[in-house]
Amino acid sequence: MMLGYIGRRTYHSAISVIGLLTLVFFLTRLTGDPSALYLPLDSSLEAREAFARLNGLDQPIHVQFLDYLQNLLSLDFGQSLRQNRSAIEVALEAFPATLKLAFVAITLSTTLAVIFGALAAARPGSLFDRAVSLISLAGASTPDFWIAIVGILVFAVGFGMLPTSGTGTALHWIMPIVVLMLRPFGLLVQVVRGTMISVLASPYIKTARAKGMKRRRIIFGHALRNSLLPVITVAGDLTTGLINGAVVVETIFGWPGIGKLMIDSIIQRDFAVVQSTILVTAIAIFIVNIAIDLLYVALDPRIRY
């Protein structure tokens, strides 16, 4: 039953991915002629024509598309115009850096949001609840580029505690992760808190209290499990956003991820890399969505596919 569901989702997602790649292929070609960006501004018309010929850009667009499809069948995703190597290799090299960043940020922010949101919901209106709401709303609303730059000025330049940017040591992870998790944490705390308040008012919680069950067990053992479905939905949505690339964090902290690669490739008209990055992220998002569906089943036995 479950395998059948996964099979159907895979089939539908494959159709979506092919449609997406087709759309991306034609949309990228609408952005203009890459030779204007690749060659020096004072290049001759002859040089620009030679560039187009060398890279197959002189062919009619439908011929280029058929070539692209034919190459896809043999898993040839094309060459990066900028980097002189296979486009899929470029995309796959950048993707793990984004994936690791996204995984750590979303795991930490979800865990902390569940703890703080649940505790805040246990005593609505208390000082703790107000403090959590203030911090979470500030986290969700403050622009990440501002936090990132201020963080660098304070913790790297001011106190010299952390490196400004880059990768390589455990310390390099701290600022990118903190900046990246602020927004998901802020949103998720609000979701957990709202759902928990409504669940804690349910009759079965009142019954549990009447039976003398401990508060911690009521909150984390009974109410939380029933509050998690909307949290997972929102966390899943945030995860797919992060998998698409944390462009601001990647740019400011020099993190070699797929988000910055995608934006740079769009700006530079590196068509094959744009297509490859979108293919990789689309497949990853499809896998995340399947995982979320399976989590629903694990958390709520009433759900069947």
Binding site: T31, G32, A36, L37, Y38, L39, P40, L41, D42, S43, S44, L45, E46, A47, A50, F51, L54, R82, Q83, N84, R85, E93, A94, I149, I152, L153, A156, V157, G160, L162, P163, T164, S165, G166, T167, G168, T169, A170, L171, H172, T251, I252, G254, P256, D264, I267, Q268, R269
Partner: protein, 502 residues
């Protein structure tokens, strides 16, 4: 238990931090932070800033080197050059030079390198400097080559500065990311995060003080400046004016870029010289200079001082709104449609405060009675207006632009801007075309005089454009380095020229 865990975590973090900072401390190693990731390391693309700053004169070396002070070619891998007829030059090559892979540097290697650049099998940005010239190379003997062009090349020795000689073992039919040259450094690694160069023991010249250079890239100027301040990096070649706050480490230098507005002279009212002069006179240049920093220099021509053909005596237009209004009134009386809307096309991010400069200029032109409207475009759209063929259906327009010439000769400026065939030119003036052709064919003092005459003519008589400022770059250099930027810094940072204090 809890205390033990905290101690373990604190210890791990401390060790991680120590490992990171220790890497930046090795005395003869430098870390350089660039503003952009080099897309590739193809030696044929060293005129591209972020490729040239890593490769040029570090990994690969040119046949000649342009002296930044005089703009004249000096010996590189070529030691002497003689013009045997207008189309032919004989080049003597340096002896005792080896490539980093052990291959010998000789006439065959030079022939191979030039043929690789001109074959069309590799996209070669550097060849743009040669225009559409066809070159034929012959090895005369082991250390002499003859270069013949299908058209006269009076400045071939200058052009040889973009010919980067690569090992004959380099693939001739595809671009590479692992260049092998004759320079004092060889490529050690190139990843998405860093490029590392290490000293080449078999280098023919003087041994550099630096043994290893690591390059990283951060687009944010404030981050690059912070990296030098904290000691994570030793040098960053390009920071914004607002980040250049420390006189001890931040150096301003004339960076060979000139900002300007191109006037599309093909449309009324811009086809009238009075309107073009009025456009130049209507700008409060002192006020506008506030946006470009105290060190920026007012420009009267599209090439900076030190470039052959630059005329030091040519004075820039001065602000005179009354005279501008009078010229517009005179043109109007003569039937010129001065009320026609003129589109001012700016480019987002072209240089710091570029959009603010366009808004200010638009307001100043409106103030003298011209109907100017600003449109800001992204680079892709803007390029359509910069290069021929220009977009169909465009009207009278002014284009924000910036031009870089650090190659020593006005030949890299004048033809593209002012001859009717020039890729940026909106001019169609037969007399000017002839003057440009004559200047391009001339040599020595005659060449200099002819270029100067053209700069004077397009400024005083034709007012074909609106030169704004010769731009200033700011570089932050860590206190342990002995090095200062110059006009070539935007295209190369030779590590051999960097000294270490103490």
């Amino acid at each position: 238990m809890r205390r033990t865990s905290i101690r373990i975590i604190a210890g791990a973090v401390a060790i991680a931090g120590w490992t990171g900072s220790a890497a930046a401390q090795n005395a003869a190693e430098v870390n350089i932070v660039l503003s952009e990731q080099p897309a590739n390391l193809e030696p044929c693309g060293t005129i591209i800033t972020n490729v040239g700053q890593i490769l040029s004169r570090n990994v690969v070396e040119p046949l000649t080197i342009i002296d930044p002070a005089s703009g004249q070619p000096t010996a590189g891998l070529a030691t002497e050059w003689t013009q045997t007829d207008p189309n032919t030059w004989q080049i003597k090559l340096r002896e005792g030079v080896k490539f980093q892979d052990g291959a010998a540097f000789d006439a065959k290697a030079v022939k191979f390198s030039i043929e690789r650049m001109t074959s069309g099998k590799v996209t070669c940005s550097n060849m743009a400097k040669f225009g559409d010239a066809k070159l034929t190379v012959t090895a005369v003997d082991d250390h002499t080559v003859e270069i013949k062009s299908d058209k006269p090349q009076p400045i071939l020795p200058t052009l040889l500065s973009v010919i980067m000689v690569v090992s004959p073992n380099t693939p001739a039919d595809k671009a590479v990311n692992d260049p092998v040259g004759t320079g004092p450094f060889k490529l050690s690694s190139f990843t998405q995060q860093t490029v590392v160069l290490e000293a080449f023991d078999g280098y023919w010249g003087e041994k550099p003080s630096i043994t290893k250079a690591s390059y990283v890239w951060r687009p944010e100027s404030s981050i690059r400046a912070a990296m030098v301040e904290t000691g994570e990096a030793d040098l960053t070649p390009s920071i914004a004016i607002q980040d250049a706050t420390n006189p001890e480490t931040d150096f301003a230098y004339l960076n060979s870029e000139t900002t300007a507005i191109r006037i599309d002279a093909g449309f009324a009212p811009l086809d009238d010289v009075r309107i073009r002069k009025a456009l130049n006179l209507a700008i409060d240049w002192e006020g506008l200079a506030q946006l470009f920093g105290a060190d920026a220099q007012r420009a009267s021509q599209m090439a900076v001082k030190g470039i052959n053909g630059h005329d030091d005596t040519l004075a820039p237009w001065a602000f005179d709104a009354e005279k501008a209004r009078a010229l517009i009134a005179e043109a109007k009386a003569a039937g010129v449609p001065v009320d026609t809307e003129i589109e001012l096309i700016g480019r987002n991010g072209i240089y710091p405060n570029g959009a603010e400069a366009m808004e200010a200029m638009m307001a100043m032109w409106q103030d003298v009675g011209l109907n100017v409207k600003l449109t800001m475009l992204d680079v892709n759209d803007w390029l359509r207006y910069l290069q021929k063929p220009f977009p169909e259906g465009r009207g009278p327009n002014l284009l924000q632009m910036m031009h870089d010439n650090n190659k020593g000769d006005a030949a890299f400026t004048i033809p593209i801007f002012y001859s009717s065939a020039g890729s940026y030119s909106t001019m169609d003036d037969v007399a000017l075309d002839k003057e440009v052709a004559d200047a391009m064919a001339a040599t020595g003092e005659d060449r200099t005089a002819k270029f100067k005459a053209i700069f004077n003519k397009v400024h005083d008589d034709l007012a074909v454009d609106i030169p704004m400022f010769h731009m200033i770059g700011y570089t932050r250099v860590g206190t342990r380095l002995d090095w200062k930027p110059d006009i070539t810094t935007n295209s190369e940072i030779p590590l051999a020229n960097i000294g270490l204090k103490n």
